[in-house]
Each structure stands twice: as C-alpha cells, then as structure tokens.
C-alpha cells in the first residue's frame, strides 16, 4: 500500500537535475566486449558524443557497430570501439583523452563539438579543444579522422558560420582526414531522425556509414602506410 507519489515533484526535480547534471540520457561505451579478438591490424576508437554513442538506439545499430561490420565484410581486421558519451562537450572530450588513450587506438574518429554548439558555447573554445585533441593524437602517431559538424541553423548565420569553420580550419592546419559533414544527407530529414529531430534512427546511421566509409578507408590506408613505414615496436 505504498504511496510513492507524494515525493514526485521533489523527486522528479532532483532526477531532472541528476540527469541534466550530467546531461541527457542514453549511452556510452563500446560494441560487444572484446571477446578474445582475433589478430587485428589495429584498433579504431570512435570518440564522440550522443551521435557516436547512439542515443535512443541500440548500440548495435549505432554507427561504430555498423562500421565494424562493414570493415569486417571488406576484409579489414580492425577492432572498433564505441567510446561515445551522450551530452559530452569538446571540453569533456579533451579531459578524457588520457583515459581514451588507454584503449591504445591506431585510429580515432573524432566526432565532438555538437553539444558545445547547441549550448551556445563560444566557437573559439570548441576550436581550441578540438585542435588540442587532434594535436595530442597526432603526436602519438594516431591517425585522426575529424568528423566535421554543422550547427543547426536556428542559431543564426553568424554563429553557424564560425562553427562550421572550426573543422575545415583544423583539418587544413593539421592535415588530418576530414569528413566535411558527419550528418550529410541525414540532418534535418525527419525520415532519418528520431522524434527529437537531431538524433539519427538506425536507418540514418546506415546512411552515415555509407557516407563516411570512404574517409575511414582513406585513414586506414594512412595507418597501414605508417605501420609499413615504421618498424614494429
């Protein structure tokens, strides 16, 4: 005969804060745990926010899992790890870089900054964070694929233009592989997005993988060239 509804308001408020406190719902982490993987050519870590983590869909339907399957089918022996954290900003990404490096990646697909934009964070800060991450990864001989992002247009042309330039500029300066726009063909299309309008559906993720796949193989080429170029340690 418990009545638990009295505390509702307080409770929901607190839950709201607890959730909001660390930002939106679902997910993080990897594809199926590395169950004694076969000999691999390398590890790809997908570092990013909810778009990488697969907010609102099963992890198996988010792009890292789809990418892993696609690579396997095409004969690439790469382990793909989903290291996406919903709600993460570029500042968060920067501060967990060390942790991420414990996964010992050869390739990192860096998809971050969207949450900065949605919260109106000054693009200069986002730019600085991403540039630092890229530089750190490059310094460790990790091949970087930078997922270009565009901001929702309701934020205004001044803001969206500054935001878009972050990715092209960094790619130009550092020479990393750039996916010009990660959500190309998906963003703004109701049929490929969940009801919230910004998170892709499983169908949307398939389009994303189709779209980014050439950039990934380009990066794999780079990795293979590098490993061939440098003697094994």
């Amino acid at each position: 005969m418990k009545i638990k509804t009295i505390p509702v308001l307080g409770l929901l408020l607190i839950m709201g804060i607890a959730l909001a406190g660390c930002d939106s719902p679902p997910q993080a982490t990897t594809a199926p745990a590395p169950v004694a993987p076969p000999a691999v050519d390398g590890t790809i870590v997908c570092m990013g926010d909810s778009l990488t983590a697969g907010y609102g869909v099963d992890e198996a339907e988010a792009y890292p899992a789809l990418l892993a399957a696609r690579l396997r089918d095409d004969g690439f022996a790469y382990q793909v790890i989903n290291a996406g954290v919903s709600g993460e900003t570029s500042s968060g990404a920067l501060s967990r870089l060390d942790w991420m490096l414990t996964l010992d990646p050869n390739l990192v697909i860096l998809e971050t900054g969207a949450n900065d934009g949605l919260r109106g964070v000054d693009p200069a800060l986002t730019r600085g964070n991403i540039a630092t991450i890229v530089a750190e990864l490059e310094a460790r001989e990790i091949v970087v694929v930078l997922a270009g992002m565009q901001m929702v247009r309701n934020l205004g042309p001044a803001f969206t233009e500054r935001f878009r330039a972050i990715y092209t500029d960094i790619a130009q300066d550092s020479g990393v592989v750039l996916i010009p726009f990660f959500l190309e063909g998906v963003a703004g299309r109701p049929e490929f997005n969940q009801a919230d309008g910004i998170h892709p559906t499983p169908k949307g993720y398939r389009i994303i993988v189709d779209h980014i796949y050439p950039y990934i193989t380009q990066a794999i080429d780079r990795h293979q060239q590098r490993t061939e170029g440098t003697p094994a340690q």
Binding site: M1, C22, A28, T89, S91, S95, T102, R153, N154
Partner: protein
C-alpha cells in the same frame, strides 16, 4: 402536542447545563467542519486544476512536432482553422544566439515565435503591465529580464536575431505555458509571427519545435479533435495532446495532500463523535433524577425521550449548520492559502453536493453517537429516584445494534472517502487495533496502580480517586489515551512529512547548477564564484551485466520506472551524504576490500533486483570495470542535493574520465551576473538557473504544510474537547468526593491537590501511553505509507507529552472549579437521598 412545553424544557435543559451543552455543541461543529471544507475545496481545486492544465497548454488541443507538420496534419489543421468557432495559432520554439549591435556580447536565448491569439488561456505578463499583444508588434521583441542583465541592455535597446536587428519593447515576467519543471539554457525572447520569415532562422537544418494551438467551442470536445488529428498523424514525429491528457504532477501532490487531510478529518469526526457520546452520557446521568421525577409525575416515556432527543436534535441542527458555515469559511481560507499554486485563484464556490454530504454525515454521526445514551432512557424507571444505580448496566440488544450501525457507518465513510478498499481496510483495522491495545494497556496499568503501595496521603487519595466506585476510570483512560494517541500521531506524522518535503527546501537550497566543470578547473571555479561548494565528480558509464547476466536494453526500455540500460552517472567518495544511510552492509565500503567494490542506492537495487554481494559489470567509455556490491544505501529525505545510484572508492574512478558538478544558492537578482562571470572565466561550464522552479516548489510545499497544520489543529481541538467531555462525564462523582473531603475537614487546598494529582496521574499515564502508541502508528504510516524516513523528535515528543498532561490537568481543574466552590451543605441538601 406538548410542543411548547417540550421546547421550554429543552431550553431549560440547555440553560442548566451550559458547560455540557457547550462541549456537546462544539463536538458537533467540529465533526463537520473538516469534511465540509475538504469536500468543497477538493471540488474547487479539481476545477482549478483543469483550468490550470488548460493554461499550461495555453489551449484546448495542441499538436507538436520537431519538424514542419506533414501535409495530412496541415490539411486537418487548415480545416479547423476555417471553422469560425475554432481559433488556431501557431508557435515556433527554438534556441538562437543573439548578439548586441556592436557584436561585443552574444547569448544563447530561447525564442518563441507566436501568432496572434496566443495564448488562448492565461496571460503573458509584461513588466509595463501593457497587454502582450499590443507590445509584440512586428520588429519588436519581448524578453526576459535575464537577457537584459546578461547583455547589459535595457528596454529600447536593439539586438540581432539572426542578421536582423530587433527592438526590445518590454520585459516578460511570466508566460502561462512554461512548464514548472524546466531548466532553460537561456532567457526567453518573444517574436511576432510576422517576423518569422525575415529572421530566416526557421529553415531546412534548423531545430525547431513546431506547435499548433487550438481553442475549441463548447460542444466540441478536445478528445474528439485529438482523435481526429491523430488519425492521420505520423506518430513517429507528430504528437497531439489535450489539456486534459497532460499529467499534472501538482495534481498528484494535491491528491496526496487531500488524502492526508481526509484521514485527519475522519479522525476528527470520530473523536468528536466519541466526545458527543460521553458528554451526552454524562449529561443524562446527571439528569436521571429529574427524568425519574418526571416519570413519577406521570410523564410518558415518550415525553422524556422527546425532551432529550429534541435537545440533541436542536444542538445537532445548529451545530451542524455552524460546522458547515465554519467549514465553508475554512474552505475559503484553504483556497487562499493554496491559490498561488495554480496560476489563477480557484474561485470560491459553494459545492452543494459537498455541503449536503457534510450535513448528512454530521447529522448521522450525531444521531448514531447520541443513540446509545438516549436508548438507555427507555429503561429508566421512576424508582430510579430512590436508587443509586447510575453506572453499570448491561448492554442491551438495541444498544448493541447501535454500536454495530455506528461501526458500519464509519467503515462506510472511510471506504467512501479513501476510495481504495485496501487502504480503508488497513485504516479500520488500525483503529480497532488501537482501541484494543489502548484498552488492554489501560487495564494493565490500572491493575498495577491499584497495587502500588503509597504512604503519601495526597497521592493515596488521588489513586483512590481513580478507583472510586462508579467512576469510569478505565473508559476515561481509554478515550483519553486513544485521543492523545491520535493527536500525537498526527502531530508526529506531520512533522516527518514536513521534514521530508518542506524542510528539504530550506533557504539555502541550491538554485543554480553548474555542469561540465572539468578537472583542474575547480580552483578557478571557486575563485570565480567567490565561495566554496561541494564538487561532485561524475563518471558516465553503462551497466553491462549483473552476476554475468547481460542487461537487455530492449527489455529495460519497456520499464516504466528508471531502467538499467541508460548511461549512469557514477561517482566516488568515502563518506555518506548527510541524507543517506546504509540499509544493507556494514559500511559504505569494506576495509581491505580493494577497489572493486560499489555501493548501490536502494531505488536502483529494487529496479535491478540487485543484492549485497552481487557482481556488477560496468563499462566506462570503453573500459570494463567489475565490482562487488558491498552496501546498499537509501536516502532519508528528499533534498535538492544530487544523488548517485552507484558510488565507488576514490581509487577506482579517480583516473576515469569525469566532469564535475556543483550547485550554489544565489540570490535571484545576482544570478545573471554570476552566469556572466562563470561563462567568461570558464566558457565550457554550463549554468542552469533553477531559481524559479525551486522558488515555486518550495512555496508550494510551504503552503501544503500550512494546510496540513491547519487541519491537524482541528483534530487536536476535537481531542481536547474529548478530554473535556470525559472529565465532565465524571463530574458528579467528583463533586461527591470533594464534598466528603470537605465534610471531613479538608481544606480547599487539599482537595485541589488531590484533584490535581488525580488529573496529573490520568494525564501522565494517558499521555505516555498515547505517545508510545503514536510513535508506533506514525512510524508505520511514514515508512509503509508515505515511504519516507522516520524521525522520533524527542524534544517535540517531550513537549507534546507535557502539553498533553497540561491540557488534561487544565481541563480537569476547570471542570472541577465549580465543584470546589460548592458548599458541602448545599450539595448534601440536593443529594439528600444519598
């Protein structure tokens, strides 16, 4: 036939027994006040709630989507818009970054573009006091004060929305359809729909909430329209709600409040009823000689019955009427008290069914409680004039029936008001159990007391007094203890409810939340805000498996409550928070247990059926972590402090990627400045301003507690009356005692001592017993029913105890005051037969 005589005699009875009739009258009044007030209030609140819900939507029906409406929906909406009796308005909501004209500052703001007609219900309040629609003309915007504060602007300034300069015409104070529980990332800007195209912000690639509001005429129900719109909607992206389908949390809180108040009211009715019975019994007992004399002089049985029935009828009619009037006044007060909770004051309305019900219940209660003493009159013989028997009589068949009917009446009333059969059954069983326990306790106590050897004269006399022949000490003790139990129980429950809900929002409740502080930024943060705060590290992770059984996301998503498949926020620390306690396991972590241990909050332990010793596998952004459950915590009260389901030892998570969360209490007018400072120093930190929400919640809960206290006072008043009535019931026996003492040469002071001590004994024993039982009852109610932690409040309990004793003594002495003044000779003359 003897109507005139009857009325004259009734009035004479009233005059001669002022004290008793006054108590009787008050008991009757009290029995109906609570129910009347609550009944009417509930009906009014329900109506206000519906109106409130309408305002929260600003419409009868509302369609929403994150995309432009699909053609099917557009076609349907257009058809409704064509109807002359239906009004429609579109609303677009989105965030944008506004800039000052010199581009020196920019700010994320929440834009709401509205068509004329919005809002259909409620009002957008402006600082100028001028109508919203008059101010929101094309080219102008209305903004929240926070926007001006943060950008350093004032009314009349211009800002860029997109690439278009707009003039700030006025400040918005409130809007009806802004949900209570919302944390916004930026201040509100209202824009006229005619400027929509010019701004160019709603376009392909924009993230916008599209809404269509409909106001319907009488006769066209929101549900019909909702069904019609939904029939062709794409449910994957379009939603249609009516103001009625919205789930109001406030309404649920109201329901719970009313439920508690109803319990209190029924208690009050019960107490008042018992009071009626004992006062009437006492009254009739003192009139036995009179009645016997009337019978001896040839008055028919019916006349005597009519006389006292008439007395009861008169008192109950006047009393019930007064009670209903007082109840209506109370309802009005209650309405005022709680009016700020809903955007509009629930208008005062006499709810006739509720009034009728109260009248009926009140009269029935009086009739039932009065029936037993009145029925006793049937068997009164003229010979009673010469006999001394007034106390013990066998319960006759008719009276047994009355008891049964009274019980049934209360059972029915409880079930009717509590809706829920099981709760009602528990309630009744609880009351019966209480009476049983109290009866047994009183019996044991009196038995022990009787055997107590005492040398002290006053004390001995006082104890003897309790065992006076024909003195109904046990029934008095039982009623006193029962009523004190109920009073204390309500008092303690109220205190615990308050502590959990109201005091959880003290003055220093944090109202601004800071997210995404990075490690290494804490010192800078503290410097910037100029004071220290508690930093909570937050590590995002997923729970993968419990004891090797993988968590199934598909199954988890079907749960209504929280689910195990969502990402959790882990934290690390080695202490319990001040509102936490361990319910399983000895300490938060086991010494020497290594780093792979975790403490789990009971709520998630229940959801996941997680027990002590279980192995949990987490994955922290790619890295697996296994930990054993070594303790389960619970939260002892609600508060605005954050809570964490999973707590780890520091060494386990110190290296894990984490952000830091903190909360501060900031004076509302200083929030904007603080936001500016923080954003300047640490632009990655997100600041959530919850001041408005917290203020509303704290305010609401404060008012609830006032309402509860109000009703508790009524119940206490009824309890005190009951104490008074039981003392009045033993009045005649006391008079005799006082007289004997005086005849035997005792001074007034001695008699006063004996009586005081007797009352003190009575008060102390019933208060102590009552308090113990009350703790038991409130513990059950709090922990089982409201599911909140229970505190004993020793100091308050002690003062309650003292107050209880004081009341019994005060009432007892005041009732005995008249007795003390009696001259022995005068008494002996009138009671010569004895």
């Amino acid at each position: 036939m003897h109507l005139g005589l009857l009325i004259r005699m009734i009035l004479r009875e009233v005059r001669q027994n002022r004290q008793q009739t006054a108590v009787l009258f008050l008991c009757i009044v009290l029995s109906v006040v609570g129910l009347t007030a609550l009944g009417g209030f509930q009906a009014n609140v329900q109506q206000a709630m519906l109106r409130d819900a309408r305002q929260l939507h600003a419409a009868d029906v509302i369609a929403r989507s994150s995309f432009p409406f699909l053609p099917a929906m557009e076609a349907k909406l257009a058809r409704y818009a064509e109807r002359p009796d239906v009004a429609t308005a579109r609303v677009w909501e989105f965030y944008t970054v506004v800039r000052t004209m010199d581009a020196s500052a920019s700010l994320l703001s929440a834009v709401k573009v509205v068509e004329p007609g919005y809002p259909f219900y409620g009002q957008v309040a402006t600082a100028s006091g001028l109508p919203f629609t008059e101010m929101l003309t094309p080219g102008n915007v209305l903004v929240e004060q926070a926007l001006l504060d943060r950008l350093g602007l004032s009314v009349g300034s211009r800002i860029y929305l997109g690439d278009v300069a707009m003039m700030i015409r006025d400040v918005v104070i409130s809007e009806p359809d802004r949900p209570v529980t919302v944390f916004t990332l930026g201040p509100r800007i209202f824009v006229n729909a005619r400027d929509r195209g010019k701004l160019g912000l709603i376009t392909q690639g924009s993230r916008v909430r599209y809404k269509a509001l409909l106001r319907l005429p009488e006769g066209l129900t929101p549900e019909t329209v909702q069904k019609d719109l939904l029939s062709t909607a794409d449910l994957a992206q379009e939603r249609v709600d009516t103001f009625r389908s919205a789930d109001s949390r406030l309404k649920r809180i109201f329901d719970n409040l009313l439920f508690f108040l109803k319990l209190v009211s029924i208690f009050t009715l019960l107490l008042a009823g018992i009071g009626i019975q004992s006062v009437l019994t006492a009254l009739l007992r003192t009139r036995i000689k009179t009645m016997a004399a009337m019978k001896a002089l040839g008055a028919p049985n019916a006349f005597v019955m009519h006389l006292y029935m008439g007395l009861v009828l008169l008192l109950s009619m006047v009393g019930t009427l007064c009670g209903v009037l007082a109840g209506l006044a109370l309802q009005e007060g209650l309405g005022r008290l709680l009016s700020d909770l809903v955007p509009v004051t629930p208008s005062f309305r006499i709810v006739w069914p509720a009034v009728g019900e109260s009248l009926l219940v009140g009269l029935l209660a009086v009739a039932l409680f009065a029936a037993r003493p009145l029925l006793g009159l049937r068997h009164l013989k003229p010979s009673a004039l010469f006999r001394h028997e007034e106390g013990h009589r066998r319960v006759r068949l008719g009276e047994g029936g009355v008891v049964l009917v009274t019980t049934l009446f209360f059972v029915g009333l409880v079930l009717w008001h509590l809706d829920d059969l099981r709760t009602g059954a528990y309630f009744i069983a609880g009351i019966l159990g209480l009476v049983g326990i109290v009866w047994a306790a009183a019996w044991l106590y009196l038995k022990g007391l009787r055997r107590l050897p005492t040398r002290h004269l006053v004390l001995r006399q006082a104890i003897r007094g309790l065992f006076r022949p024909r003195n109904a000490t046990q029934p008095i003790l039982v009623t006193l203890m029962a009523s004190l139990t109920l009073i204390f129980a309500i008092f303690l429950t109220e205190k615990n409810l308050n502590a959990t809900f109201v005091d959880a929002y003290p003055e220093d409740t944090p109202n601004v939340f800071f997210l995404d502080i990075q490690r290494g930024q804490t010192d800078r943060f503290t410097q910037t805000v100029g004071r220290t705060s508690q930093f909570y590290p937050v590590v995002r992770a997923k729970l993968m498996a419990i004891n090797g059984n993988a968590v199934d996301p598909a199954r988890e998503r079907q749960r209504k409550s929280d689910n195990l498949a969502r990402p959790f926020n882990l934290t690390y620390r080695h202490h319990l928070l001040e509102n936490e306690k361990i319910i399983a396991g000895k300490t938060l972590f086991q010494a020497g247990g290594g780093n792979f241990q975790v403490s789990v909050l009971d709520r998630i332990a229940e959801i996941g059926n997680i027990r002590l010793g279980d192995r949990l596998r987490f994955k922290i952004q790619g890295v697996p972590l296994d930990a054993r459950v070594v303790s389960i915590r619970t939260r002892t009260r609600e508060s605005m402090q954050p809570f964490f389901y999973f707590v780890f030892p520091e060494a386990t998570l110190r290296q894990a990627p984490q952000t830091i969360f903190t909360a501060l209490r900031v004076a509302p007018e200083a929030i904007a400045a603080l936001q500016n400072q923080v954003v300047q120093a640490l632009p990655n930190v997100t600041v959530l301003d919850a001041s408005r929400t917290i203020r509303q919640v704290a305010d609401a809960l404060g008012r609830f507690s006032q309402a509860i206290r109000f009703f508790t006072l009524f119940s206490m008043a009824a309890g005190i009356l009951l104490v008074a009535s039981s003392i009045i019931a033993t009045r005649s026996a006391r008079i005799r005692e006082a007289v004997y003492f005086k005849i035997l040469g005792a001074r007034r002071r001695f008699v006063l001592y004996v009586f005081s001590l007797e009352n003190a004994l009575l008060g102390a024993s019933s208060a102590v017993g009552g308090l113990l039982l009350a703790h038991l009852i409130s513990w059950v109610v709090c922990t089982r029913y409201f599911d909140i932690a229970y505190k004993t409040y020793p100091a308050a309990s002690l003062s309650g105890l003292m107050a209880g004793i004081a009341v019994v003594m005060a009432v007892g002495l005041s009732a005995s005051r008249a007795i003390m003044r009696r001259k022995p000779a005068q008494f002996l003359r009138t009671h010569a037969a004895e």
